[in-house]
Symmetry: C2
Subunit: 638 residues, 2 copies
């Protein structure tokens, strides 16, 4: 097992033609807008009222506290990476932390739904009420805030709650949470506090899952549980719907159907699965448990070869936001929740650190540029919860959601994007993502400064200026992206040829050097596995890390009328005036002739004709940023 460490966002400054505007929008618009939503949704008011000792009238979903925590986490990353201090944001973060701290009970417990609505029923409903989930997000926010500012104001709150949880579990309550999140958070807390018992607690929550019958017992004995409504129209009844199959308890929804070691496929609610596997990877990293890693590798294999959209999206079913069956990847009805894609990045980054296998970085790149980036509008104020791969034009992003998990998740991912660029291990530095900027990379023999410039995702050129004040000896590993068939690299103008297991490997004593890499970046037409019904007889267009799509607004005909084949040649043109700058792809496509159709709805096929007309594709992430119109990723393949 490897133990690569990421270069933390605090050590990475992003300066990138593609990403910098997005991160600015995230900082200046999205995070600002989301703060307003915390107020207007009643989320902050819940904390205020809990702090004031009021009761009743909790607003929002019962896990609304986590919205505030995710906002605090995102805002902390912004503070950590800001060019200069932002007193207004610092003040606002402190105000929210003060609210949170004031709402905490004396024994460390903190959850405004329970404090306001059901103070006597803590920990009675682990399936549904998400106390541990909210605690996990509190801890993640606290760790981020502490790392960003050095302050302990939120960390103290989080530690007190974690200690309370450590007291309660498993001595008073023995069971796993319905929604994972606490596991990965506890490992973060252990790392920042040095307290190994938080790792033990995380390990407990992982090991108990699928071994105990607590979740089943709760669903069978709802009376007296928090959230119980004798009319049956309650959260418990709702949860039964996803936890029941043919009248029998089936914990698949929360990955509680079997112990981890017996799980052969990624199952159930996709976000829960991703947070779970991320937490398992963290515990494996801390304990060195190779078995845990083997379980994760088995599940990753299932997900990526049978249950993954070409965009990196996962969890195809709207009902239960869940994985369904192998090869069930519908387009129009795709769920592919933005949060699940983000969770996949969390998990894959940990797998990369534990293995050094670039396939995990490949999937992060694919997911980031497609499955996640499509989830937020170019202006940063509208979001997709579900990311369809085809639309009849009736599906558009929304400003906010009653269950508002995705927007703050996008915000915290983007605000911490720097952590996905580089990993280090002894004297090895891995360049995992090609995003421009400067990083200070701590290696065994001394620090390197890496200044990256890249034209990605539009062109495959990357340069890295390496500065080592003390002539550091180190090995740089440049990931060769999965989409790249041909790579050429020079160091200080001299061609080098040192590819090794998916990386270009450059070992030398660095001084003041310049690496230039060109990754072949041509348009590729992609087919789906024959077992996938939704891609049968269809092709997808990709170029570099980007999946493309057709939107009717760019084309003379409805998108379903275009057919391309595996030899269709697309011409890329960068259009800085379009969609905040995109490279479009144009080709000649086959379209049906309208001749002879007058007054007919069905007709003998051999009487119909086709013709050739131009077609324009845009990056999938940029769809639905103009007037709503039909869209397709998978194009008919004649």
């Amino acid at each position: 097992m490897r133990h690569m460490k990421p270069v933390e966002p605090t050590a990475v400054t992003i300066d990138d033609e593609f990403w910098s505007p997005r991160l600015e929008t995230n900082r200046d618009v999205t995070i600002e807008y989301q703060y307003d939503q915390l107020e207007s949704s009643g989320c902050l008011e819940n904390f205020r009222r809990a702090a004031a000792g009021e009761t009743g009238d909790f607003e929002g979903m019962w896990f609304a506290d986590s919205d505030a925590y995710k906002w605090l986490e995102a805002a902390s990353y912004v503070l950590a990476t800001a060019d200069e201090p932002d007193p207004e944001l610092i003040g606002r973060v402190d105000d929210v932390i003060n609210l949170v701290a004031a709402a905490q009970d004396d024994d460390g417990y903190l959850n405004t739904y329970f404090t306001l609505e059901e103070p006597d029923k803590r920990w009675t409903n682990l399936n549904t009420l998400h106390e541990l989930y909210c605690a996990g997000h509190l801890i993640e926010a606290a760790v981020a805030h502490h790392r960003a500012t050095g302050k302990t104001s939120l960390l103290d709150v989080a530690t007190a709650f974690a200690d309370h949880i450590d007291d309660v579990f498993p001595d008073e309550i023995d069971g796993a949470p319905g929604h994972q999140e606490i596991e990965l958070a506890l490992v973060k807390l252990a790392r920042v506090t040095g307290e190994a018992r938080y790792v033990d607690l995380a390990e407990y929550f992982i090991e108990i899952r699928g071994h105990d019958d607590r979740l089943e017992w709760e669903l069978d004995n709802p009376e007296g549980l928090a959230g119980y409504d004798p009319d049956g129209d309650d959260m418990i009844e709702g949860a039964r719907g996803v936890f029941w199959e043919d009248g029998e308890y089936d914990g698949t929804y929360a990955q509680a159907h079997a112990p981890l070691e017996e799980q052969e496929a990624v199952e159930g609610h996709a976000v829960r699965a991703m947070y779970f596997f991320a937490g398992v990877a963290d515990v494996a990293a801390e304990t060195g448990d190779e078995d845990l890693l083997a379980h994760l590798e088995r599940l990753w294999e299932n997900m990526t070869t049978k249950r993954l959209y070409i965009t990196g999206g996962i969890g195809s079913a709207h009902e239960g936001e869940r994985f369904t069956e192998d090869y069930d990847l519908p387009n129009e009805m795709a769920y592919a929740e933005t949060c699940a894609a983000i969770g996949s990045i969390f998990w894959n980054q940990r797998m990369l650190e534990l293995t050094g296998d670039p396939k995990y970085a490949d999937l992060i790149e694919r997911t980031l540029y497609n499955g996640v980036l499509a989830g937020v509008s170019l202006d940063g104020t509208e979001f997709f919860y579900d990311n369809r791969l085809a639309s009849d034009g009736s599906h558009s992003r929304s400003g906010w959601f009653h269950c508002a998990c995705c927007p703050p998740n996008v915000a915290r991912l983007f605000a911490s994007l720097g952590r996905y660029l580089y990993t280090v291990d002894g004297r090895d530095c891995y360049v995992n993502q090609y995003i421009g900027g400067t990083a200070s990379v701590p290696l065994e023999k001394g620090n390197l400064t890496l200044t990256q410039e890249t034209a990605l995702p539009w062109e495959g050129d990357v340069t890295l200026e390496v500065t080592a004040p003390n002539q550091t000896t180190a090995t740089l590993h440049l990931r060769i992206p999965e989409w790249c068939d041909d790579v050429s690299v020079t160091v200080n103008g001299e061609t080098v040829s040192t590819a090794d297991e998916g990386y270009v490997t450059l070992e030398r004593t660095w001084d003041d050097d310049r690496i230039s890499a060109t990754f072949d970046h041509s348009t590729t037409l992609v087919a789906g596995h024959p077992a996938v019904a939704a891609t049968a007889g269809r092709l997808a267009i990709t170029r570099g890390p980007l999946v493309y799509c057709l939107e009717t607004v760019d084309n003379d005909r409805p998108v379903h009328q275009y057919r391309i084949d595996s030899t269709t040649e697309f011409t890329p043109t960068h259009r800085s005036d379009l969609l905040e700058g995109v490279t479009i792809l144009e080709a000649d496509a086959t379209v049906p002739s309208l001749e002879g159709w007058d007054g007919k709805l069905y007709r003998q096929a051999d009487e119909t004709k086709t013709r050739t007309e131009p077609v324009t594709a845009i990056p999938y992430y940029a769809w639905d940023n103009r007037d709503s119109c039909p869209m397709r990723v998978w194009i008919d393949w004649p």
Copy 2:
């Protein structure tokens, strides 16, 4: 305007290899089974309790009375066409009629929902409570029962209720019903009683629709209306959902958005639309109003060129069971309610009678063999409410429905199938449907006896023995089906060639003659209009009147893997051992090679290969009669 008359089912004996077993199943199994459902669903108990003066505890949907009426209508057709009297069925019909009669109020009003639940709120909620709809079905049943038996026991009940309605509308209540049905029923009642005022009342209901604001007013002022629940979780609130668009009243759901003369497209709830147009056609027939016919022809044009499934199914949206937009004809999500297809047959038969245009008989045939026949299982006990054109294997027929409109509608259509075979007009007789049996056809110059034999739908051969005791001069018109490119006809062995506007026309003095017709019946591959997204890049297989489909159970691969093109040659084979006897179609299809896919979910398209493998198609109507499995009507077209 023509005034063709159908040869009534009482004058037609069906003796047909394809249809006779189905009609027997309908009579012996379906109608029996449905009677049991009337008991077990509480429908008959509602009548009993209303008759006994009890209150409360109405069971089923608020229009459940219509289930009993539809059963009475179907059973009456069975009595009318039985080879010999069926004392048990006669007794059961009389018992149900006695129940119905006993539940009628003294003033003629009859609706057990109101009698049991809201006796003071009659006629307050025309949108939703379906009193006039139930009245219409009562009248249809009464007319069928009277024609079958000569008895007036049910006709007296229906007439008393119709007279009560005639008193109330429009003097006390001025408005159209939310669900049409009363219009066509009143015309039937006028025809059997000779009372023209029922036609006037039908005409009133047609003319007021889209002209008044009664339906809008009800939705705006729900308090005091029947079905009103102050918590808003009531029928009225449910109705608002379909009658509202962007916060504004929109009567489209019930074809009340505009007067008939301003309606340019078939809109709204498809069953309502079909019953409406059938009623309009009936009024046009009685009043000779050419304008009404012109409106219907305009709407028919829209439906058949833009909003019709290849199966004859209509109304593509589950939400609202309604027509959506031109060319919106999804496969997996097709609604295509069985009742709507049946309603289309009702309407088209009337259009045929008013025009003599065989295109209406063509659509009846297409709808009967596909859109309707698929709605009932081969054993007659399970039903599709919605008829999808593709399935992932998770969709199957059900034994009964809470809203049980479709099963009894199938039963009454099949039990009265004889009426769709022949129409007469003076000395002309039209052979509209090719179904074997004997008919006594009354013509101007005397009766003909027609004995039809046919191998349809499997082969295109039809013989007609014409017997005329008095050497009757008459013109026989044999419809040339839309699916037939080539027809050859002999009379007494001599070839004749007298096609005229879709008919083979045979004028002579008939004595004892034999007509043989062979309609070319080859397999045809059909394309959908380019504007239809769901059929883009796909072909459907048809043979004669039958649409075919692929079911996985007959094939080695999942159905989505097969590709055929417009030149693929299918070989028909009749398999008497399969699905109660079907002609299957077999061909060589293109399938993807599985080579090189190991461990890959996506791959460069130009690396993939195809091969040729056999594929088997079965008639669409016969799908889902074995274990549930994936099915497709529209096959990929490479």
